[in-house]
Amino acid sequence: MRYTVKAMRVLMLLALVLTFAFPFAWVVSTSLKTYVESIQFPPDLIPHVPQLVNYKTAWIHIHFFHYATNSVIITLSVAFGQLLVCIPAAYAFAKKKFRFSGILFALVLVDLVLPTQVSFVPMYVLVSDLHWLDTYWGLIVPFVFSSFTIFFLTQAFRQIPEELLDAAKLDQASELQIITRLMVPISKPFLLTTLLFTCIGKWNDYFWPLVLTNSEAVRTLPMTVKSLVADTRGVTHWNEVMAGNMMLIIPVLVLYLTANRFIKSAFVYGIK
């Protein structure tokens, strides 16, 4: 019995590594091949001579600098905007008693159960009426609010003992000081977590930039990487596509690997 379970574990392990790690290995390998090598049958796993030039070609084709700048601007603005909007709101919901707080909190959380995909048509009309299509505004302002961030931070702030707040008030700390010197430092792990969630989500976002933009001006990195697949030459150069793909993957992967355990526990905590 014990051995059957052990054997099953090993088999599952191998199957998993094959199905999950191999595709990534194949992306890296393809990104380093010549075009001829990339379509050759039977395929070689290891490129003959690693072609770093693919990265240079992809960099130029996807106008990496332009689109990466857009992605960074939008990602960071949304992330910091969310903290600016959500920290005070979460603080009020967690630590203050006021009329209608229950109803207002429920109102804020409605968004959690309503998939954003249901209202993208009216959202487009709204952003268009505001003359925000193809501007940073359109891609940033509607997303500065997040039910999830407010919910998550409210939970975190509730864990901070009232005695600390009372002590701060006795020392005549102002509200701003209570938020910036007490609430924020104590809940730093939670704040960093939400920051990570938002950054990863926005960096990867494909749906909203597709819906809310018509021109290249403020489009983001995922859209341009996708455009490599069937480019104007009519043939897909998979080696260059994979090099471009790596440029989209690497920033998130670096973030993930440096904060690996932290992100995982955060994802798990976040859904509880």
Partner: protein
């Protein structure tokens, strides 16, 4: 002065409440309103047409195909995804370095852009030069046309969806397993309960709230799927992979029929709410809370 303003809780929550009203509630209500209009975005004319958009949708054969696709897609991604996640969670929960490594590897697709994932799979599933067909050929099986044929296209996007989401579900299962107190297992061992008894009498019932949560969120997420369809197949071939959100997108943004698209959104909103409520009532009775 500033301090006095900030002491007012309504000031603190105002930006959040205003934003949720403008960018979340208003669009949802606006969708209902627009669904009764014939709105020509090219000419800029609008006039009231009552339920005509809804009637059009119900007479549209593509709509019924899309609904069927969406149900198949949801059923397979949710059920297979949850069964695999449960099995993997049970097998890899012990926090040894191997288990950690496995968790990290299978979690990675979850944090990557759907563009990265789909571009990768379009290459793996390329009918001519893809490695999957090469492997099939090597082991003597017939090769497939994957996304290119209506027979296998829905299966292809189901595979990619499960692959992308599995790591996340495994993580939730593991979190759920870790919240089951170990003394229950120890007591069961003292009573000579076997591995399978423990699995079916302790683990499964005590994990049911977690599984219930996963089921609801995974079902709603699968109904809301857009990226993979849009990126890999554009709903084709022959609408074989067209799912509800992508279909709404097609009507609104490729056929410029804002009224009909909004009616689709409203139906979709109703559908999601009904599923959520039905799930809740059906499962709430069978779920054990500690």
């Amino acid at each position: 002065m500033v301090n006095k303003i900030l002491r007012n809780p309504y000031v603190l929550i105002a930006p959040a409440v205003i934003l949720v009203c403008v960018f979340s509630l208003y669009p949802a209500i606006f969708a209902v309103q627009v669904s009764f209009l014939n709105w020509d975005t090219v000419l800029g004319t609008k006039h009231f047409v009552g339920l005509k958009n809804y009637i059009n949708i119900f007479h549209d054969p593509v709509f019924w195909k899309v609904m069927r696709n969406t149900l198949y897609y949801s059923l397979f991604t949710v059920v297979i995804g949850m069964v695999l996640a449960f099995l993997l969670g049970i097998f890899f929960q012990e926090n040894k370095w191997v288990d950690n490594l496995v968790q990290s590897i299978i979690f990675t697709p979850h944090i990557l852009s759907s563009v990265s994932i789909t571009v990768m799979w379009m290459w793996l599933m390329d009918p001519g030069r893809g490695i999957l067909n090469y492997v099939l050929h090597q082991v003597g099986l017939p090769t497939l046309k994957w996304m290119m044929s209506p027979d296998t296209s829905l299966m292809s996007i189901i595979i990619v969806t499960i692959w992308k989401g599995l790591g996340y579900s495994v993580m939730i299962v593991i979190a759920g397993l870790q919240s089951i107190p170990s003394y229950i297992y120890e007591a069961a061992k003292l009573d000579n309960a076997g591995r399978f008894t423990r699995l079916f009498r302790i683990t499964l019932p005590l994990l049911s709230p977690t599984l219930f949560f996963m089921f609801i969120t995974a079902t709603i997420a699968s109904f809301s799927s857009f990226d993979i369809v849009s990126l890999m197949t554009k709903g084709g071939p022959e609408n074989s992979t067209n799912l509800v959100v992508y279909w709404i997108y097609q009507i609104g943004f490729l056929q410029f029929n804002i009224g009909k698209a909004s009616a689709g959104s409203v139906l979709f909103m109703l559908f999601v709410s009904i599923v959520a409520i039905a799930n809740y009532y059906f499962f709430a009775k069978k779920v054990h809370y500690q």
